[in-house]
Symmetry: C2
Subunit: 227 residues, 2 copies
Amino acid sequence: LIVAAGAGRRFQASVAKQFVELGGEPLLVRTVRNFNASACIDQIVIVLPATEITEFREALAGYHFEKVVDLIAGGAERQDSVAAGLAWSEEHMPEMILVHDGVRPFAEESLIRRVLIAAREHGAAIPAVRPADTVKRGGEGFVLETLDREELYLVQTPQAFRAQILRAAYDHARQTGMRATDEAALVEAIGYRVALVEGSPRNMKITRKEDLRVAEMLLDSGTADES
Amino acid sequence: LIVAAGAGRRFQASVAKQFVELGGEPLLVRTVRNFNASACIDQIVIVLPATEITEFREALAGYHFEKVVDLIAGGAERQDSVAAGLAWSEEHMPEMILVHDGVRPFAEESLIRRVLIAAREHGAAIPAVRPADTVKRGGEGFVLETLDREELYLVQTPQAFRAQILRAAYDHARQTGMRATDEAALVEAIGYRVALVEGSPRNMKITRKEDLRVAEMLLDSGTADES
């Protein structure tokens, strides 16, 4: 499930960030390619803004991504888009579901495999890296607390789940009105343990224009595609 | 106070990361240049590994950084190096002290000014940016808790303090044996409020080889030097 329905408010461009060109191709095409090429992936569903589906379907036509089985309309927020993908999956009954950010074009095969293997074992697994900086809680312009860096993880995607666990988490979120910035938080809320898997420093999320320039550099260096 | 006494264990190079070349100059020279050029800064003291002082003094000779008043030997960890700088400052009695990572070569004048103004007003101020990713606490390979991203800050430097506050914080840390990964945490521990100031996305810390390549790209684009 590749989630790319965001409006990209932080990106300040005339085109939503997932369609911005990176090395001559839309960012989202690069993201899809990684998963289409992955031996771990059987089917890909892409969640898009409703207004972009027709155009992106045409853009994809030249690429022969044979695992892309559907393009569906997302919701106002990421959580709504994942819910739309889950609703789709109810008819198709996959055993495992991976959720990935459309704006992370550098997820390596080794990373996808690592997360999937851990999710098969534990039911839920997410990739994460340690922060290089000190992290603090703050409010109203002042520090509230310095957090113990040894315990902190910056979370990436793909996040992988046994389908029934992810569905139970979204049912619970719908019933309680819970909102979260990643899928795992909803799974944690129903009491499932989520395994932490080593993420990749290259698996960056492109949310600002500066990020796009960093991504182009990674692309040129060729090191982003393989770890 | 520019702290550059680290051994750079994460960097995996024959030369410590602060001396690695960036755009044809040692990283640390670029860092020093920003502060030497700043209208907010009167004196610069650089804290180095004891074994590197002579060599770096020679490297600096060609640059005419007239604000660099001393190069002193640091300690085993960052906190020890800052303590060495503070000991130096006791003879020279500055009103305000800024502590900056030697491996952050892109601190803009506007950032330095912002932090210093806030520290003059509140006694202590640090620059920080919001995380783009979800942040979790974890332990033993599993998620413990998803943190509220709205409250989280990734901390940068320069961190700025009224000298007497920073000294009181280090006295307290020495008496209690407290260790921390940034200066502000020691100031927080003695009950002073630390102001959060908007950091800069370009003010990156160079801790891995990948970071150096990103830094070279920022350098080429020219956008790293001015916000």
